[in-house]
């Protein structure tokens, strides 16, 4: 299983480095969304729950972009058949794609959050450490799991780039709620307040529940 | 928040129950139209069957 996951991941990273389709697009999208929010909210400096809200909404839509691109090469260049012909457990595709999306999201957040702190964030981002990376990591796991499911579900359909946001937005809402509620105190004006553990529990529960469900149903999305 | 007068309250409650009734009736109407389509198709099919093997009564005994 790990051999197949490694092979798939290496191939996908090679493809991404060569075509540079997903990560740059997600970063550029995030930055232009921040600029958009600057004018939409008519604020130059954000803090507290508004800052958290803007960050998490932007990351949500950026991940929808990533989810849309996740299975495109598999669908168009026979990647599914090539994979199904190999004597490997089909869940390897799910694990590989989820890890790939997790990696993309982390890379995008590395750039997007630093740009965000320069452009819009009032308080310095470093006050939010180490809480912020922890929340981001937990949220990325949830987005990776559900995103991979939604991506696989949508790629075989006709209106693919319509179905992904339609499904992903409601499904990822609990992550945005939990993410924003957990990040808000960290970005408070007078210095980071305590990280509410309750929201980390919600994120963790989300990851576990959807991880198990994805593990159980993903194979049905490949079967024919 | 000032609570609206009881009379207005009655209107809202009635409104809620009417919305529910309206939805159920709409659903029944849709199902009725589907039933009508089934009936139309069935008559078409009986005609087809008719052409295929005419009824025995018509054949001379």
């Amino acid at each position: 299983m790990t051999r197949a996951v490694a092979a798939l991941l290496r191939k996908d990273l090679q493809l991404e480095l060569r075509t540079r389709e997903s990560v740059p697009a997600m970063v550029l999208f995030s930055v232009s969304t921040f600029v958009l929010f600057r004018f939409a909210l008519d604020r130059e400096r954000l803090e507290g729950d508004l800052a958290a809200g803007v960050l998490w909404v932007t990351l949500l839509f950026a991940s929808v972009l990533g989810i849309n691109r996740l299975f495109v090469t598999e669908r168009e260049q026979g990647g599914f058949d090539a994979f199904l012909l190999a004597p490997v457990d089909r869940t390897a595709m799910f694990v590989a794609k989820a890890l790939l999306l997790f990696g993309f999201l982390s890379a995008v957040e590395l750039v997007a959050v630093s740009v965000y702190s320069v452009l819009l964030l009032g308080p310095s981002p470093f006050q939010a450490f180490p809480g912020l990376p922890l929340v981001l990591a937990l949220a990325n796991a949830g987005v990776a799991v559900v995103g991979t499911l939604v991506g696989a579900l949508a790629v075989q359909t006709r209106a693919r780039d319509l179905i992904v946001p339609l499904l992903a937005l409601p499904l990822l809402l609990p992550i945005v709620i939990a993410g924003a509620e957990a990040t808000a105190p960290l970005l408070a004006e007078g210095g980071a307040e305590a990280l509410p553990g309750r929201w980390l529990a919600i994120l963790g529960l989300y990851d576990v529940v959807f991880g198990l469900i994805a593990y159980a149903v993903f194979d049905f999305l490949l079967e024919d | 928040m000032a609570l609206p007068l009881a009379a207005a309250a009655g209107a809202y409650v009635a409104g809620a129950y009417l919305v529910f009734l309206a939805l159920i009736l709409a659903y029944v109407a849709i199902m009725a139209s589907k039933l009508a389509r089934v009936e139309r198709e069935l008559t078409e099919l009986t005609e087809m069957a008719e052409r295929r093997e005419p009824d025995r009564e018509r054949e001379p005994v």
Binding site: V146, I177 | V13, A16
Partner: protein, 226 residues
């Protein structure tokens, strides 16, 4: 074959619903602080509960379809979700009317169950577009079942995270599903209303199933004859 128990079932649901409405207006006492407006509770909450039950039933039949691959389970899952979406519309409509009546605004964000229900409704509204976006019938059934399972698991998580976000509850907990805070007579009326709504759901469910299977047999007959 689905329409077998339909007649007694529809009689029972009519009796239960009419009985419930009678109880609501002539037996149950008015709520101490909400007054007459609270009567919407006996319609709104059973609608919401039965709709959610229908979504979860859709998920259960989704799992059964994934295991068995039978067209019948898919049909039952589809009809359950399809009906729950209709009841969902009724739930949201009555919820908004209730919000307007008691707080003066059509939509109120500080009622967690209503907000969570809206999110769940938005997700399930994609069920039909997803089905129509897939041509191959077998794949359509399988993907619809996978969706039903995912969405079924999403319902509790969504309610929990929205409820957590609503730490400070503004208005009385009369809306609470468990009905803990209600006097006996009101709770009894609520139970009758809930039973009536559930019976209505099962009746419509069997009704639509028999209608769909009739239409499928008709199409098969047409193919054989043409």
């Amino acid at each position: 074959m689905y329409g077998r128990g339909l007649k007694p079932l529809s009689i029972a649901s009519v009796a239960a619903l009419v009985g419930a409405f009678a109880l609501v207006f002539f037996y149950a006492p008015e709520d101490v602080d909400q007054g007459f407006i609270q009567k919407i509770f006996y319609l709104h909450v059973p609608l919401a509960l039965v709709a959610l039950g229908g979504f979860v039933t859709g998920g259960v039949y989704g799992v059964k379809h994934l295991r068995s691959g039978s067209r019948e389970h898919d049909m039952k899952s589809y009809v359950a979700i399809h009906l729950s979406i209709i009841l969902g519309v009724a739930t949201l409509a009555t919820g908004m009317i209730w919000a307007k009546a008691s707080w003066g605004a059509w939509w109120v964000w500080d009622e967690p169950t209503l907000v969570a229900f809206l999110i769940v409704f938005l997700l399930y509204a994609c069920y039909q577009p997803l089905r129509f976006a897939i041509e191959d019938p077998d794949r359509q059934m399988r993907y619809a079942a996978v969706f039903a399972v995912i969405a079924g698991a999403f319902v509790p998580i969504c309610f929990m995270s929205v409820r957590f976000a609503q730490a400070a509850l503004v208005h009385p907990r009369v809306l609470d599903q468990t009905g803990g805070g209600m006097p006996g007579s009101m709770f009894f009326t609520f139970l009758v209303a809930l039973a009536g709504m559930t019976l209505l759901f099962v009746t419509l469910w069997k009704f639509e199933l028999s209608s769909k299977s009739a239409r499928m047999q008709l199409a098969a007959l047409r193919r054989r004859l043409s």
